[in-house]
């Protein structure tokens, strides 16, 4: 019987670049920027890292294939470096590789680094995906907002919500992230925006307007992980350590997109991954026990249904919680306290690690102007792919023991 990951691995150090339109930097420079911060935070040298995982998604405009760009840019010591890719859940996948390596005893200290250089395309939005030879022959020319907007159409139908009512709740979601992002010096978008401005923005994919979509950003984030024992031997105090409490992944098997059962108004994999994560972390009531969450708010509608899929808001109840301020910085469970994908930005390969970075800062009391009082558990939710076939990565982090 699997014993789970809880408290077997702790974070030794983390780093994260400023996200945004980093015309000044390529993926290599971004990786070094995040890595240097993490090394300094961990208080170790690069030669002490035993293995590394690189997460990057967009071959087409980023660093291409293999883990070599990370090994070379970071001048790693000829250690094993593995590149992972799992759509927008890539960052969590890299983190998972490093955490599991330490838990398995394969190495003492492991590195997870995620990076994406998106702004080398010549246009706004994500670049087109290389999806193999068969999908282009029959899939629509899907864009990310176009596929996530599908969820909105299904949600309105299922819960008999009017377009206006949904749009207002979606605007609140984005406005809240803008307020939070304004307090984050590393965020791509650091300006508060009114709900009226959000509602007046140009339509991207019905019913999602410009402000319902997250930032397309360059950036890198990294984590250095080890065992609690090694962390203490390196001088870290046991009661200040941030430990991984749960790490779960769930992938679609084609049922949502090919079998007439799913109603399109929720993400089944989020439900599966989160319930497994709660069991692994020993969380019985997430609405009561979670202190903060960083969810995959690639689009406002994604955040809305995620609230329900995580078991925090009741089914059909997310709108009420959102309008009540439940997820605001001063609410019961602040969501996207760092601005989220919406305002911190979404350099794909880095995002999953960026979410953990914010949880880590909050749990360490180092979150500056956006510091929450005494958080206990933080959850990250990283979603890759499309609503009808996707990858969901969930982590729960908290103080060690």
């Amino acid at each position: 019987m699997a014993s789970g990951i809880k408290d077997k691995v702790v974070i030794l150090g983390m780093g994260c670049t400023r996200f945004g339109e980093r015309w000044d930097a390529g993926a290599e420079e971004l990786m070094v920027e995040a890595f240097d911060e993490a090394l300094g935070d961990a208080g170790i040298g690069r030669k002490e890292i035993g293995a590394a995982w690189l997460g990057s998604c967009m071959d087409e405009v980023n660093i291409g294939k293999s883990a070599l760009p990370a090994s070379i840019a970071l001048r790693l010591d000829n250690i094993p470096v593995t590149r992972v890719e799992n759509y927008c859940a890539t960052g969590t996948e890299a983190f998972r590789g490093a955490v599991y390596a330490v838990a398995a005893g394969a190495c003492d200290i492991a590195l997870a680094i995620g990076v994406e250089k998106l702004k080398d395309t010549g246009y706004g939005g994500l670049p087109g995906l290389d999806i193999g030879t068969m999908p282009p022959l029959w899939w629509p020319n899907l864009s990310a907002p176009g596929v996530f907007a599908q969820v909105a159409s299904a949600y309105m139908k299922k819960f008999n919500v009017s377009r206006d009512e949904l749009k207002r709740a979606l605007a609140e979601i984005s406005a809240k992230s803008h307020v939070n992002g304004a307090k984050n010096p590393k965020a791509h978008l650091q300006k508060a925006v009114s709900c009226d401005a959000i509602l007046a923005a140009p339509m991207i994919a019905e019913p999602l307007g410009l402000f319902d979509c997250c930032g397309v950003s360059d950036g890198a984030a990294c984590a250095i992980v080890t065992t609690p024992e090694i962390a203490q031997s390196l001088g870290k105090k046991a009661d200040e350590l941030v430990a991984i409490k749960a790490l779960q992944l769930s992938l679609s098997n084609g049922a949502e997109g090919g079998y007439n059962a799913w109603d399109g108004a929720y993400i089944p994999t989020t439900r599966k991954a989160s319930s497994r994560a709660y069991a692994e972390a020993g969380i019985r009531d997430p609405r009561k026990e979670l202190s903060m969450i960083e969810v995959h708010d690639c689009f406002s509608i994604t955040e809305l249904v995620t609230m329900e899929d995580l078991g925090i808001s009741a089914e059909g109840g997310a709108i009420r919680d959102i309008m009540d301020g439940f997820y605001n910085a001063d609410g019961k469970i602040p969501c996207q306290i760092d601005g989220g994908l919406k305002c911190f930005g979404h350099p794909i390969g880095a995002s999953g690690i960026r979410m953990v970075y914010e949880m880590y800062l909050q749990l360490s009391g180092r979150a500056g102007a956006r510091q929450l009082p005494a958080p206990v558990y933080g959850l990250t939710h990283n979603l890759g792919g499309f609503p009808h076939q996707n990858v969901v990565g969930i982590s729960v982090v908290g103080r060690y023991r």
Binding site: P140, Q150, A205, F386, H388
Partner: protein, 487 residues
């Protein structure tokens, strides 16, 4: 008895209001003002001669067995491929058996009547099964030309056989004369035209009547006995004048559909024949003329079986399924007469892997998925392991045709970001009432009138064009059935 056993037709939904095109170009060529009246059928950006031919043939085959078809002939001067059998693509889209004679007829406005002759000859030679004669046309013309407004896009189809014949084939007469009213070289995009008055005097009023007279004499048909005279005309009342010259009642000349469809090239005689069969009563005589460097003249007589054939969508149904288009720029863009700035996103155009396309040909061309042999779940794409979470049976599936299955929109969006020649791109989860779903393009939609629960009909359309490698990719899309009840 040999003859027509069924028929069908397809006219695209969009109708360009001619006046807007005429007004846009009158400053340059005042002759286009003569084409200001009525409207012309306008193919959507994802329609071409092949996709329209598929729709016409589906109409002809609706409610009829298709495993018995032994030959398919596809006539057009605008086949999408010069060297890849268009009739084979048509057969694939109809999911006809692979043991079939497939042949393209091209090169002249007679290509349409040529398919009828080919199909009739095939059946007359004693080959098994029915044969299909299909013609589709999507001609391009330069901006500001008369043809741009005169022409229309459409297709028509006929099944030919010996059982349950609705119109007996009485015989035919063909002539070949290098009378060049217009031409288009194999590598040219546009036609070159000679003076209309000469075409009328020397072509319509001399060559055509001579061919018809020879046919009537050969077949011993009295001109006065002809009930439906079918001749594509390029100006109103010309067919009636030709009829009169041939001793056929002027009143028997069929409406040339110039005012509401336009001249649909090689498809036009077949389109008019389909229209005539919608109106005809048993025991009537029909003369069909195809004119292009000579004539094909065919004669038919309707039978009692005509009344037993279920009503087709055909021309009347197509005329009723209509959406006015007043955006002449869009017409030019769809016909690639106007060069639009498509943006960087349009550059993404992956190579078409012909190996992949071949392996999945039945799904890609015929929208054939799989049906689990264990639990019976229809699914697309067909897979080795059933998609039903409660089944997941491993093993080959039986083929399952989704094309004619009723379906509804489950989720949707209108996407302004992704590239499409006609933004916003509409796509969504399409769910089939008897099982199966997939994320599909939506076409022939009205912006603002797409909704969850809306009934759709699957249609074979252009999925994309790859100008770098010169290939057109086809797949099936969902077209809303406007007027249908929401689920």
């Amino acid at each position: 008895m040999l003859g027509i056993t069924s028929f069908g037709a397809y006219i695209p939904r969009l109708r360009l209001v001619r006046a807007v095109g005429a007004q846009a170009n009158a400053w340059f060529n005042s002759a286009v003002l003569a084409q200001s009246s009525g409207e012309r059928a306008m193919a959507n950006w994802d329609e071409d001669a092949l996709t329209m031919a598929v729709e016409a043939a589906r109409d002809a085959l609706s409610g009829r067995a298709r495993d018995d078809i032994g030959a398919v002939f596809f006539g057009s001067t605008t086949h999408p491929f010069a060297d890849r059998q268009n009739a084979g693509l048509l057969a694939g889209a109809l999911d006809l058996p692979e043991a079939i004679v497939a042949s393209d007829l091209a090169g002249s406005q007679k290509a349409g009547t040529g398919t009828l002759l080919a199909a009739l000859n095939h059946a007359a030679a004693g080959h098994r099964g029915e044969s299909l004669a299909v013609a589709g046309e999507h001609r391009r013309a330069r901006a500001g030309s008369v043809q741009e407004l005169l022409y229309g896009d459409a297709a028509a189809a006929f099944s030919i056989g010996r059982d349950q014949v609705i119109a007996e084939f009485l015989g035919s007469h063909s002539t070949s004369v290098d009378f060049v009213d217009h031409y288009r070289r194999a590598d040219s995009d546009f036609e070159y035209h000679w003076e209309e008055r000469w075409i009328r005097d020397e072509g319509y009023m001399k060559l055509v009547p001579a061919s018809i007279a020879a046919a009537l004499a050969k077949l011993e048909i009295d001109g006065a006995s002809v009930d439906h005279f079918i001749l594509p005309e390029n100006t109103a009342k010309l067919a009636a004048a030709v009829a009169k010259r041939c001793g056929i009642a002027e009143s028997s000349a069929r409406d040339g559909l110039l005012g509401n469809v336009g001249l649909t090239g090689a498809a036009h005689p077949l389109l008019l024949l389909a229209h005539a069969l919608e109106d005809a009563r048993p025991g009537q005589t029909l003369i069909v003329v195809g004119f292009g460097q000579g004539c094909d003249v065919l004669a038919f007589r309707t039978t009692e079986a005509l009344d037993r054939l279920a009503r087709r969508h055909a021309v009347s149904g197509s005329l009723a399924r209509r959406k006015e288009e007043r955006n002449y720029q869009k017409f030019m863009a769809f016909n690639e007469v106007l060069v639009m700035e498509k943006g960087l996103r349009a550059e993404s155009n992956p190579q078409t892997a012909l190996t992949t396309q071949y392996r999945h040909r039945r799904m890609l061309l015929g929208l054939v998925g799989g049906r689990c042999t264990q639990c019976g779940t229809p699914q697309l794409p067909p897979a080795d392991v059933c998609v039903n979470p409660a089944c997941q049976h491993t093993g080959p599936m039986s083929p399952y045709r989704f094309a004619d299955e009723p379906a509804r929109i489950k989720t949707w969006s209108a996407d302004n970001l992704t590239f499409t020649p006609d933004p916003p791109a509409h796509y969504g989860m399409v769910e089939f009432e008897r099982g199966g779903r997939f994320m599909a393009d939506i076409t022939d939609y009205d912006v603002g009138a797409v909704s969850v629960g809306q009934a759709v009909r699957m249609v074979f359309r252009v999925r994309g064009r790859d100008p770098v490698r010169g290939i057109t990719r086809y797949f099936w899309k969902a077209a809303p059935v406007y007027g249908a009840k929401e689920a």
